[in-house]
Symmetry: C2
Subunit: 224 residues, 2 copies
């Protein structure tokens, strides 16, 4: 097989992955058949099996593609930030953009990673879970570092990490592009919500302007 043929096969396989991701994202993994994927690729089922061993391999490749996009667009961009709170804030913002599709076109692969968290088995499962676990550890370590520096209160790093993840990864279940709030508004508000905290610090006048205030005009307490 010369390299022109190889490249053609590679591009063909990319197109198959793209189509498979679209169908699996819409209908779920168990709800999508190889027959349907083949038809959507304008191939016969036998033709599809020329490119891919089985349906689980296809799911595993879609997820690997999504994890690489995540690592490139989120993790690698924030790993180097020296301040742990800045690192976490920027990580949250970029991850929300990835899930909502602001970053590139790989939100369907990411949604499949999130929704089908229990579907893969064996080595393919272990490999994806290992990459997810690195992300969880990165968050736990960053929260712990911020605590050691006195930048944030003492909390269980595991609870902080999964609270962070829950807020941003749940978004795929409710957010609709074109709705009342834009993806950027949701991202900015969530970052402020987690890192600035909800409860009014003691001494703050109720109704006074706050950096998060969007909906109400500030209640002026004195002369104006």
């Amino acid at each position: 097989m010369h390299s022109g043929r190889k490249q053609e096969d590679g591009e063909r396989y990319q197109a198959i992955l793209e189509t498979a991701a679209r169908l699996i994202c819409e209908r779920g993994y168990e709800g999508t058949s190889m027959q349907e994927i083949a038809a959507a690729c304008h191939m016969t089922k036998a033709g599809l099996y020329h490119h891919v061993q089985n349906k689980e391999q296809l799911l595993s490749d879609v997820m690997s593609y999504g994890m690489s996009a995540f690592e490139q667009e989120v993790l690698e961009k924030v790993r180097g930030l020296a301040d742990p709170v800045e690192r976490l804030r920027e990580c949250m913002r970029l991850n929300i953009h990835l899930v909502t599709g602001v970053t590139g076109g790989c939100s369907k692969e990411v949604i499949i990673i999130l929704h089908e968290h229990n579907t893969l088995t064996g080595e393919a499962r272990a490999s994806i879970d290992g990459r997810k676990k690195r992300y969880v550890r990165f968050l736990e370590d960053s929260f712990a570092e911020a605590m050691r520096m006195g930048r944030i209160r003492a909390v269980q790093p595991t609870v902080a990490a999964f609270s962070f993840l829950g807020m941003i990864l749940w978004i795929y279940k409710w957010f609709q592009p074109g709705g009342r709030l834009t993806a950027t508004q949701v991202a900015d508000d969530m970052v402020d919500l987690l890192f600035t905290g909800l409860v009014t610090p003691p001494g703050v006048v109720p109704g006074a302007p706050s950096p998060l205030s969007r909906e109400r005009p500030p209640v002026s307490g004195g002369a104006s």
Copy 2:
């Protein structure tokens, strides 16, 4: 059909729902067949269809059962609390207990509601979504009330509501009973995390004891 027979049928149907919920929770809705549900109930497929119209009806009934458990064990218990911040804190705590199975035995029905958010169609979908939406509105209204009272900072009520929901509903994807933290520890820490906020308020000495501190002994700043 006299009432003894009716009651027997009702009990039988409850047992079928329980078994169906267990299988669907483990394998997903699309990954579970009526044949498997019948076998797990020690019935023939024809016998199962005597009790239930089709698989979607079964899913819809499992979800209704889970929503009723949620409304009874969480929503009704906190609706009457006058203080909106107390109401939200208690709601979060009780909902985490429901998801982790501390409350009763209906966590599998609740997990199915959460995981299969996109599976039902038609009227059954509209009915469950309407009940979910009442919960979202209740949270948005409580956050808005807390803001009007100056109890919390100004945030978008929708972002606050879905952040609250994401933190607690994501738990089904990672939490394992018998792991490092108990369900009660996770619940208490998450409530504090969201409502006390992460960032150290100005003027607080880094390393000083905090109500959230669990892992580190307080750093004593003065005599002792």
